[in-house]
């Protein structure tokens, strides 16, 4: 018996039948093909761009932009170079995304919680909100908020006024400290509102649209998370005499977070990407500046590389932070 098996055990099989070698060979071939394809595509790009006289160049970034931007949070004027304009656009995008994230999270959490309320009216409102908003395209909503709601606001003295806050067609004006010391409320100068803090209606429309749209999706994520907590937890809390809100706050939500956070990640990333629809309502974000830059310089590939890099970086950053949060809220085995 042993003598029969011996040749097979001793003899080394040819490499094309060797289970230890074969996977490596296949991987090497596939890897080589992928590398070749990438090299070909890059070579093709360079060759065609060279033929068209458009080889990648970044010198234009230092040339004066000579276009203006309506509202910026970092100083910018038309004499500054293109990269400053793009940076100002990125800052505007970040402002919209950051405030949008905070607003949508609060609204979505409230709406998600409300769908478990014992109050039927509140439950109904939450359901209608989610179903209506989820099923209408965001672009349509943004255009609605801007052209139908915000541009219908009155201007000048007829503007909506509550102490410290004025909402006019030209923007939202808030009271604040001027030059760091003097408390100033919005006031009219030559029939134009002046205030320490001003938000344009373009930004207002974008933010409103993003918060309400993303809020609906986040509400569903939160609802799913709460629903994933076993009923027994509610019943146990109830039997201990703990109220509805306290049960939610101290018992259900902490457990629901484990389910909510990964879903939130997706919604946050969508919100960041959706912010590029700002151009539809006249808000000058990164995409809008990039488009103007592209038209003035003709550097399509470079401008799109910058755009791709910026949005990819932003989304990866959000993912990174959310993954950190995810690890933090997971149950730690002891």
């Amino acid at each position: 018996m042993g003598a029969e098996n011996e040749p097979a055990a001793k003899g080394v099989p040819p490499w094309w039948r060797d289970r230890r070698v074969l996977p490596w060979v296949v991987q090497a071939v596939v890897g080589l093909l992928v590398l070749l394809l990438i090299a070909f595509l890059l070579g093709n790009l360079v060759r065609n761009l060279t033929a068209a006289g458009l080889l990648l160049s970044w010198r234009w970034l230092n040339q004066p932009a000579s276009f203006g931007i309506a509202e910026t949070i970092i100083p910018f004027d038309a004499t500054m170079p293109y990269w400053r304009g793009l940076a100002a656009g990125l800052a505007n995008t970040l402002r919209a995304v950051l405030l949008g994230l905070v607003g949508a999270t609060i609204l979505g959490t409230l709406a998600g919680m409300a769908s478990f309320s014992r109050n039927g009216l509140l439950r109904g409102i939450a359901r209608v909100y989610v179903e209506v908003i989820r099923n209408i395209p965001l672009l349509l909503q943004l255009v609605f908020w801007y052209f139908v709601v915000f541009l219908a606001l009155p201007n000048g003295a007829a503007a909506v006024q509550i102490p410290g806050v004025v909402l006019a067609k030209s923007g939202l004006y808030l009271a604040g400290f001027e030059e760091g010391v003097r408390w100033t409320v919005p006031h009219l100068v030559n029939n134009v509102w002046q205030a320490p803090l001003r938000v344009s209606v373009e930004f207002g429309a974008l933010l409103t649209g993003l918060i309400i749209y993303s809020g609906a999706f986040i509400a569903e994520v939160v609802r799913g998370g709460i629903a994933a907590v076993p009923r027994g937890q509610w019943e146990a809390a109830s039997s201990l005499g703990i109220g509805w809100l306290a049960t939610l706050r101290w018992i259900v939500l902490p457990q629901a977070l484990r389910v909510i956070v990964p879903g939130l990640n997706t919604q946050y990333i969508s919100l960041a990407k959706n912010s590029s629809l700002a151009v539809a309502v006249g808000y000058t974000d990164l995409y809008s500046v990039a488009e103007t830059t592209l038209n003035q310089t003709g550097r399509a590939v470079e401008v799109y590389l910058i755009l791709l890099g910026a949005y990819l970086g932003l989304d990866l950053l959000i993912s990174l932070l959310m993954n950190g949060l995810n690890r933090f809220v997971q149950i730690r085995e002891r």
């Binding site: 458009l54 203006g68 309506a70 052209f147 151009v279 006249g282 809008s288 488009e291 592209l294 003709g298």
Partner: protein, 373 residues
């Protein structure tokens, strides 16, 4: 010559056949690899004119023309779905010159931001979309377009409601102004206001519709664009007489049809078809009398200029890669330049613009066709 669908590179001969075989098999992605060796292929021999673009257009059997589509007088879709306007007539003249049929045009509505990409990618053959000719748009290091003859000499203006109390550019200090992004007007506005040292708020929108909607919604006190465009848009406002153009002319805006750089034969065909419309006006050839003039030229061998112009003798058409009677066909389709102007933006239209600098050079204007020789 055939272009690869993904890479846009030329293919020929054996390599092309191999490519076809591969494409039929499941290995079609590999055809991209093949395209690598193709750049050096010799071009098809045959007619004296070598134009990839014209071969594509002739193969397709129709011209794809990029227009605005929402600008009365220049390119506008009527209630019957038909395009009309000065820019549209340039497309029609070109189709008539190529195919003898002004209807063989497919129109693509383009906004000002996407127009150059559409032309560069070959999505449209001809961009006839009230586009200003500038150095950076023409230069190969910039947008890399190839411009034909200017079909409308315009200037940038500012429109504001009559009730706004604004009379000059300086009155716009601190005020929001609506402008379409990706236009020369956006830059001119910034330049002029900087010269005047007037701070203002530019509100940029991606499309003309959004820009004028925001203006009519009262978000901005003024809107800026080419004066002809402002006048054209005003005709579709609810109450056109409530809006006024400021007298200031902020820039030169020569509106010019464009083709992609790198195909001089196609650019020449467009250039001389448009010049043909201008020359026809100078010679008094109209849509109505072109057949009569042709008969006259055929009958009288002494009218050498007219005979050459109308293609009775000589080979101007063939030199351009067009039929010899391309001028006759295009004038018969849309009329001469003067007729096109009057019908679309002049006295025969709602815009009622004055010919102004767009008169023939013989009347002291800028419309001047080089000789057909």
């Amino acid at each position: 010559m055939i272009r690869h669908p993904f890479t846009g590179l030329q293919q020929c001969g054996v390599v092309r056949k191999l490519g076809m075989a591969l494409r039929r098999s499941l290995l079609w992605p590999l055809t991209a690899l093949l395209a690598a060796q193709l750049a050096g292929c010799a071009s098809d021999s045959g007619s004296g004119v070598q134009s990839q673009k014209m071969a594509t257009i002739n193969g397709r059997g129709k011209l794809v023309c990029g227009v605005d589509g929402k600008l009365p007088g220049f390119s506008f879709v009527g209630p019957d779905g038909a395009y009309t306007g000065l820019d549209v007539d340039v497309c029609k003249a070109m189709a008539a010159a190529l195919f003898g049929d002004p209807g063989k045009v497919e129109y693509r509505d383009l906004n000002s931001s996407e127009r150059f990409a559409a032309l560069a990618s070959g999505e449209v053959d001809l961009l006839s979309r009230n586009t200003t000719m500038t150095l950076s748009r023409d230069a190969p290091g910039g947008n890399g377009l190839s411009f034909g003859p200017t079909t409308f000499y315009d200037g940038q203006g500012v429109m504001t409601p009559v009730t706004s109390g604004i009379r000059t550019l300086k009155d716009l200090a601190g005020k929001p102004i609506c402008v379409e992004s990706g236009t020369t007007t956006e830059l001119n506005l910034a330049d002029r206001m900087r010269e005047l040292d007037v701070a203002y708020t530019p509100l940029k929108f991606q499309t003309g519709d959004q820009t004028y909607a925001a203006y009519l919604g009262g978000r901005c006190i003024a809107v800026t664009s080419d004066r002809s465009q402002l006048a054209a848009k005003r005709t579709s406002f609810p109450s056109p007489d409530q809006h006024v153009l400021l007298p200031d002319v902020m820039s030169k805006e020569p509106l010019t049809p464009a083709t992609v750089n790198g195909d001089p034969a196609w650019a020449d065909a467009v250039r001389w078809t448009v010049y043909g419309l201008m020359q026809a006006e100078e010679l008094g050839i109209t849509k109505a009398n072109v057949a009569e003039k042709l008969a006259e030229a055929k009958a009288n061998p002494n009218q050498a200029d007219l005979r050459r112009f109308l293609g009775v003798e000589g080979d101007f058409g063939r030199q351009l890669g067009l039929p010899s009677d391309f001028v006759v066909k295009s004038v018969a389709a849309v009329g001469n330049y003067g007729e096109i102007f009057d019908r679309n933006v002049g006295p025969g239209s709602k815009l009622k613009l004055d010919r102004g600098v767009n008169r023939q050079w013989t009347d002291g204007g800028l419309i001047y066709s080089p000789p057909f020789r």
